[in-house]
Each structure stands twice: as structure tokens, then as C-alpha cells.
Point group: D2
């Protein structure tokens, strides 16, 4: 019944596992690019086969990560570069992006918990035109080509009595978008990536998820349209952070303290707790500006993005 479920699904953290192996995996393609000027690092993991999915422990799909260390700082020009990079990556995973389409954007999360409010705050800043296009057509905007864009903030179960996924399923059936983009705050395993990593995936998302809860998933399988998920890690599960610190401690000291046994009390007390940064309000404000600008750019069919596309 908690209103803020911490998810631990940053694909980047699996990448490190692969690299550690020093070998190629059949069915998995890994690309990495670094933008010289901005230092933004883009990693793209494509899981193409069932074997790849098995080895990686993730569904078939594309997993893109933007690491932008300065994203936590107040630097408008830098944030603009990140927005452009995000727009480019989004275009690379939207099927038939040059064709006019109906796009539904979903702002997941809880507007009233700062660290979980990324989705709703991004939604507040999106360009939305479906209602105008339906009534007046493109003429209203004096433009050549336009997607038809709509947006929903489903809210949290404690307030609605419904899964976010139920609400989204209903709206998708009623309004029949061609593609769905979902935005959510994520949990990372370590504080190092908080507020400076943006993940774009094509394999769906489970809002407030538990593993295997298929009823709640937003994915191409459950919705019948492509689903692109944009996530930014803004919290770390508190039990995870302490558990990890203890394990590292053990390793560093060469002593066995907790090994093999269940987590000590110090950790279990932390269930239903999360860790976040003290300036999370500023962080979310900036991140939501950057992510919404990225989406708006990607869906503006007349915006030309620099760099190769």
C-alpha cells in the first residue's frame, strides 16, 4: 500500500557485469560513444536473441544510457546538450519516426513525494496538441508535419485505488496511440549515478513494480503498441545501500561479518526506506526541464538535431 515503491532496474548496472567478462555474448550488441565537448557518454545495449536475454537476465530490447556527470549542476547550455542527445536517442527507438503518429506520454510516479515526482513534473512541461489537431488539423500550427501528442499523469494507487497500468491500458484502448512513452523516477544500486543518468529502453516498464507482475506492466506485449521508457535514478533503496556498504566492508577487511547469513537488523529496519539527496527539489526541477525538452525536441518533426542521426 506504500505510495512509492523503489525499483532497482538500472540496466547500466548490468552492463558492468558484461564488461567484466571480457568476451562477447551471442545476441548482445554493445556500443559506446562519448561526446567530446560535453563528456556525455552514451551506451547502447541491444539484446537481440533469446540467448542474449537469458545471459543478460533482461527481455529482448534496446537499452540506452546517457551518463552526464554535470547534470546535477545548474548549467543551461549543458542541460540543452543533454536534451538534444536524449532527443536523438529517442528518435532512434521510435518506429517510423519520420511518419506522423499519435504519441501518448505517461508521467508515472507520485507528484507529492519529491524524489518520485519526475514523471508528473515532466508531464507539466510537455507540448501537447492532440486535441487541437483533432479539431483544427495541422493548419492550426502552420507546420508541415506533426505528431499528435497527448499526455496523462495516472497518479498513485493510494490515491486512485487503481494500478497506473490499469488507467493507462484503458486510455490506450480508448485513444489508440501508435506509440507510448513512459517517464519515471528509478532506483539505482549506488548513489554515484543519482540524478546524472538517463535511461531509455524499449522493453517496457512496470510502474511501482514487483518482478513478474504482468498485470501491471506497460509493454508492447500488454498494450499492443511500442513502449519506450525514460527513467532517471533519483533514489537508492536504503536497505540496499547499507547492505552493499557492509559487503564492501567485508571484502576490504578480509573478514567475514555477515557472509551467508540473512541481513542483520540494522538493514531490515530500513525496509520501506529510501535514500535521496538533500537538494532533490532542485534536482527534479532541472531534470524534468531537461527530459521534457528532450521529448519535445524528439517529437517536433521540424526540429533538426545536430550530430549524426
Amino acid at each position: 500500500m506504500s505510495s512509492f515503491t523503489v525499483r532497482t532496474d538500472l540496466a547500466l548496472e548490468d552492463r558492468e557485469r558484461i564488461e567484466g567478462r571480457g568476451e562477447e555474448i551471442h545476441g548482445v550488441v554493445l556500443e559506446e560513444e562519448r561526446r567530446d565537448e560535453s563528456g556525455i557518454c552514451v551506451t547502447r545495449v541491444k539484446i537481440e536473441t533469446k540467448n542474449g536475454a537469458k545471459v543478460m537476465g533482461k527481455p529482448i530490447g534496446t537499452y540506452i544510457t546517457l551518463e552526464a556527470p554535470a547534470l546535477t549542476e545548474q548549467d543551461e547550455a549543458y542541460h540543452r546538450e543533454v536534451s538534444e542527445e536524449l532527443a536523438r536517442q529517442l528518435r532512434s527507438v521510435i518506429p517510423d519516426v519520420q511518419k506522423e503518429q499519435a504519441v501518448l506520454i505517461v508521467g508515472l510516479g507520485n507528484r507529492e513525494v519529491t524524489a518520485d515526482s519526475l514523471g508528473p513534473q515532466v508531464a507539466d512541461r510537455l507540448f501537447v496538441n492532440r486535441h487541437v489537431m483533432l479539431e483544427f488539423g495541422k493548419a492550426a500550427y502552420n507546420k508541415g508535419k506533426m505528431h499528435r501528442i497527448s499526455c496523462i499523469v495516472p497518479g498513485v494507487m493510494a490515491r486512485t485505488g487503481m494500478e497506473s497500468a490499469e488507467i493507462v491500458h484503458g486510455i490506450v484502448k480508448e485513444t489508440k496511440p501508435d506509440v507510448l512513452i513512459a517517464v519515471d523516477a528509478l532506483a539505482a544500486r549506488s548513489t554515484r549515478r543519482l540524478n546524472r543518468t538517463i535511461q531509455v529502453t524499449t522493453s517496457g516498464i512496470s510502474p511501482g513494480s514487483g518482478v513478474g507482475n504482468h498485470r501491471n506492466a506497460l509493454s508492447a506485449e500488454t498494450l499492443g503498441v511500442p513502449v519506450i521508457a525514460i527513467g532517471v535514478p533519483t533514489v537508492v533503496d536504503a536497505a540496499t545501500i547499507v547492505g552493499d556498504a557492509l559487503e564492501r566492508m567485508e571484502k576490504d577487511s578480509g573478514l567475514q561479518i555477515i557472509g551467508g547469513r540473512e541481513h542483520p537488523q540494522a538493514v531490515s529496519e530500513l525496509n520501506n526506506m529510501y535514500v535521496t539527496s538533500k537538494d532533490i527539489d532542485e534536482m527534479i526541477r532541472r531534470l524534468s526541464a531537461t527530459v521534457s525538452e528532450g521529448i519535445n525536441l524528439a517529437l517536433n518533426m521540424e526540429a533538426i538535431l545536430s550530430h549524426k542521426e
Copy 2:
């Protein structure tokens, strides 16, 4: 494209037409009760036949009005009486109210325009339990009989790109409630009724409506489940208010000033303007507390309401 459409549909204002005729209308039943202690006046118009609907210019259905003059004052005991009266009237129009049912409540309107935020603010204060009932059953609450209650705030078209009705239709199809309750701010024709009248109707509601726009209606016909609408007039259309003042002026003075001709410029400038009270924030805060308490009481199967039911 405006985000706040002023509706002029307070049924009470038609009642006055009937009374003026001093005769009975076939197919229309009119009842009026006054609570002695509180001075709350309850009027119930039942339009039962096609003839009644034609004469009244409204669909077949029940139209209940609570007039509570002191509703604009800060008097908790009085507001509690109004909540109880509202609960009683709601129970009188919910089909099979003694049977456990799934109820979806819809908070219509625009959270960001104070005078239009009644629906969202009522939604914030509702008791919601559908998610708990689905997971744990009534056992979670230690109660005998319970409705399963869910709630949605669809938001406004300028932000979502979708009609509120589209969003609600989708959610109704997906979650299959037995009855729908919609809450919205209304427009009255005169300032006298602002913030002191609650209307309960069974004939549906058209959020942000224009007449005859069936695609947008929330009604038993379009949704396949009973729809109960709760409305409170919080604004008056500005052109209406000036137009009415001018007409009264004409009548009082016995002179023909605007008669027959189109509205003068003074009035047409007021298109897309509305009139509301300067303390509308306090008004909405109190009204949303009163209306939400009325709904919570009505749907609490173990709450016993005083007076005859």
C-alpha cells in the same frame, strides 16, 4: 482551446420556470423539503416521461438541489449537516445502495484555476480502497460490508490533449465500476447561488461541455453504468451577468435599450471571461471538504445517517 469552459446548467434555475406556471406538468414530479434546524432546503425534480423531458428541456432523470445559505461561512457543525444531507441524497439515487458495489469517482475540472478546482480538491480527500480490497479483501478493514472505491482526476484537455470523457471512458471499460460519481464546478446564471448550492443529478454530465456534444458526455447511455453528477456553482459567465443586468435594467426602466438587437459591445468583450468571488480559495477549500465528506459518508456502508432515509 480554453482550459476552463463555463457551463450554465443549474437545474434549479429551470425549477423557477415551472413554479411560475402555477400548474402541474405531466411526467414531472416536484418535491421540496426544508430542514428546520439548519434551514437547508432540498428540492427534488423527477422528470419521468418524454413529455416531462420536453417541457423541462432536460433529459429524463432526477435533479436534486441542496440550498444551504450558510455554506459560505466557516461553521463546521453546519458543514457537517450539509455533508449528511448530501450523503442521504446520494444514497437515494445510487441504485441498490445496500449491495456492495464498485464505485468510480471522477474529479472533473482544472486544479490550476481556483474556481474550477472543486473536482480535483474533492478527489484529494476521498476514501479510496479498491486496491486494498482487490489484494486483501474486506478483512483489511475489519468491516462487514464495503463498497470498492476508486477515483480519478482526468485533468484538462489543454494539458492532456484528450477530452476528460475519453479518459473516463477508457478507465470505465478497463476497471468496470458498477456506478460512477462525477464531481464538477458549475456556472450559475446569477451570483446569488454561488458557493451555496449543491446539485445532484442522474442524467449525466458533459465536462467542459457544449450542448449536444455526445462524444464528451459522461452518462448511463455513453458509459453503460449509472452516472451521478454532483455540481456546485462557483462562477457566473461574465457576458451572462452583464446581459442579465442590462435586461433587468430595461424592464425596470420600461425603456427599450438593447431589445431585439444583438448584445452590445460591452457584453461581447466579456466572452471567455467569468465572474467569481474574491475569497474563492477559502470557498473551494470548505466546499471540497463538505462534498468529499458527503461522498465518504454515503459510501460508508456502516455509517448510519440520521433523518429518514
Copy 3:
């Protein structure tokens, strides 16, 4: 005790009186400029002598009005031009603007009434640095010259139990700024100017004011520092609008309807009512972006504004 007092003090509306006279007034200088590209019209009335003040019915001071008809539209480039123009005009009335100073900006009004939330919403978007300057000096920003900027939203009397002016007086005595800028929503006499006019004055402002209530004034006299007020008309008093419509009606029709007598009931019912536009949430959002950008630009000592300064 109402939380939103409608003020009727748009100086522009006095200007029309002067022009009507077709003659010069001793002690009053009137200048008007029109920006060709943008169509923005800047009027500057300087009341320089006691005689001028008497004739104009306003204190000695400078009254600047920016009329920008397209301000109600969503056109970023146009809003940027208005911001620049506002910045230019602000610099023209801040004493010793080339010297580093401590500036306190006050966001007046009620955040919870949309039409009255301009001041608080402008405050949310201001660049503020006083705390950083006090702790680290200009070094923190790598800049040559900087003002020290602070900001307060005093809130409304119904919530604080204090006049906004009391709160501001206390803060001014404690933090000793060199100049104060106050931002507030205003009332116009006609709907034609709503949301498209920005007024900058140097003669002070009375938040939630009644005439002659000196205890409440924010002015150079009461505070001991120069006070620059920025106001945008967002509402019209409802009684005013109907009264004016009736008078025009009388004049047009040549008939005497209300002349000489007190206002008819139709008007008196409108006390404590105001008129505003249905899309006031969008209006305030855009206006607050434009006004805050104007202030930020004016106070950024390294920003170079185009046009003559």
C-alpha cells in the same frame, strides 16, 4: 478579511484623461515610444511637481506602461522581446543601476487564487544570490559585477494574520536592501487591457490596499529605500464592469436609466466579485515567465540589452 482585494490603479487609465485635454500640464512630462518590430508601446508619465501630482491625482513619480497586445499568445520570441523591454525600463528607474546593490524583490498576492498569483509565481523563477554572495562573494559566480538579490513572498493576511507590508517592513529593517522591487497582480477598469499590459512605477504600492491606508504602503517614504512596483492587470472588479457597461449603454441610447441614483441591485450583488479570463492559468504562467525574465535580465549586470538604454 477577503483574501483578494481588487485594486483599480492602472495609471495608464489616467493617461487617457490627460490626452483628452489636448494641452500640457505643468509638472507632468509624457513620452511615448513604439517598437516597430514588436508593436510594443511604451508610455512614460513623469509627475515632477506638486501641481502635477494634484492634477493627475497621483503621487510624484515615474509611471511606465508597456502595452504588448500579443502578450496573451504563446510566442516565445515575442515574450523575450517584452522581457528585454521590461529589463530596459527597470534599469531606467533603479537608482545607480551600474553600482552593485542589494535588491529585495517582493512577490505580493495569493498563490492559491490563480488570478492573484502573479507575484508568487514570478518569485519562484527569480535568480537569487544574496546568501551565496554573503558566504563566498562574487568568486562563487566567476563574474565581474553582481547585485546581491533576495526575494520574499509574504503571503496573504487571511493566512498570516499580518499585513504584507508589516512583513516586508520587518525584513527591510533586518536585511537593509538598497532598493525594493514589488510584483503584484492589478485590477484594470476594462477587460481590454487584461494580461497584456505591464506597469512599472516608482511611487510605491499598497498591497491589498484601501486608499490612504499608509500603514500598509510599500514606498520610499515608509521604507526608507526606493520602491519600484511592477504590476500586470489580470482582473476587473465585477461591479465596475457592470456599472461601466450600464453607463455606456445610457450614453449610447441617450436615455437616462441609472443616472444620479445609486447603483442598481444588479451591481451591488457583485461586490466582492471579480472578472477574469477562463484561461487565466495559462496567462499567469506565461506572464510570470516574462516578468521574471525581465527582472533577472535587468539585475544581471553583465547582460547587455539591445536598443538604446
Copy 4:
């Protein structure tokens, strides 16, 4: 520049130190009461002499703690009991509480960071009457004796450029209250006390405090009026929680892992991080209702509180 400074100053956690000593301290009086029905435990530590202050490491004053384990649950009757208990304790520390006084309540913290928004959310629910009393006297309320109550939410330094303390100092000098009550979210050392402990102290509070920063303190010494602080721990500093877990681990295992050395990297990464509960929005909503009701009851001179006073 961070907008949310985690404070670690729950006096209760010092009490445990005293108790461990099993002896009396000169100049320190300790009382403990447990309410049988509700299980609420009230501890009162009075530090009366300089010696007591030295031993306890805290200024002379009264430190009251209400521990109410069920405070995290949604039980209105229980919350009402806590409100009454809080009212009783507040009355015990307000000097001359039977005499009519001017009371200023300060809601400290950051409205935009959920875990830090207790002060502002309490302020939203306070009964405020100073402005009415000044204009109309007690007659407006038809009551015998009334305090004059005002309230301010100073906001955070990142937004105002001023210390909260500067703003409050200015307002105190201007409006001259007889007593000040400050409400703030606190940091505990352990998660066990989060959201279920209310602390009332008479020795002042330092909003966003660092040790020894006297310029920022709100206290009888700096303000010249009695200061009563109400705090509820809603977060734990993340570095503290991990550090503590590690130390306990060491003790339990009998091994020296980190002893004597500086905190390991796992901990230092956590600077500027805090831990809070996933349902912090519900917690703050309930706590602010309970604390505001406690203050409103305490300051209502006609409310009679049960139990001994």
C-alpha cells in the same frame, strides 16, 4: 547552498545516555509519564543549572518528548489523543498561558521537499486571527478570552537568499509577539523514531543549522521573547545510518573493521543524502494535521483539555 540541511538534534537520544548512568545529575530533573489508554509516553527533561547543561551538552531549558508508536497509522481517534497531549504540553511551557498574548508561529522547512515540509504544512492548517483582532477585537469571534495569533512560512535560503532566522527576526521586531512557536522537521539518529515522536523544547532552534551559528538561532536570547520549538523527526542522515550500522556490526562481530580510522568511502559517498520512508507524503499529511490541531487546541483559551493540566 543545499536546501535541506539534516539536523541531528533529537533530545530524546541524549536521555538514553543519562538513563544508562543509573544516577542522578545535579541540575537535571527527569520525569516520565505513560498514558494508559493510548500508550503515549511523555518524557520531560528539565535542565535547570549550568552544571546540568554542561553534563547534558545542551542549553538550560525544558525538553519534552511525546512517543506515540501508532502515530504512523491512520487512526483519527489516536491522532486526536496525541493532539490533546501536545496541547497540554505546549500550555505547560507557554509563559502566562492564561493571559491573552500575541503568538507568532513559524513554519520552518522546505515546502517542496516532502520530508522537510512539516512546518509549512502545519502552517497551512493553523487558526490565525491577529488581523481580525486588530481590526474588530474579540467581538468578531463572540468569545471571552483570545490570544492574537499570526503565522509565517519564511521559505528556504536557496529561494529567498536570506536565512529563515533573518526573516523571523525582522517580523518579530516589527510585530512584537509575546511568544514564538517554531515548527520544523528534524533528523533522528535511527529510523526507529521516525514519524512517531514529537519534541517540544524551550531552548530555541537553529533552522538549517550548523553548530554554533548564533546568527541563525531562533531563541529567547536572540529574539527577546520566549521560543518554543516543536519538532518531529522525519529523516535520518544517510551517512549516520550507515556509520551506525557499521559500528554495530563491528561490536556484534567482535572484529575491528573501521575502528579509529576515518569513515570508509561507502559512507562518505552519502554526504548530502538522507533516508526517509517511502510513504513520507502520507506521514507528513497526518503529522501536520496532528501537530496543527495540537497548536490550535493549546492556543484556544476556551478549549478545556482533559487530564490534569
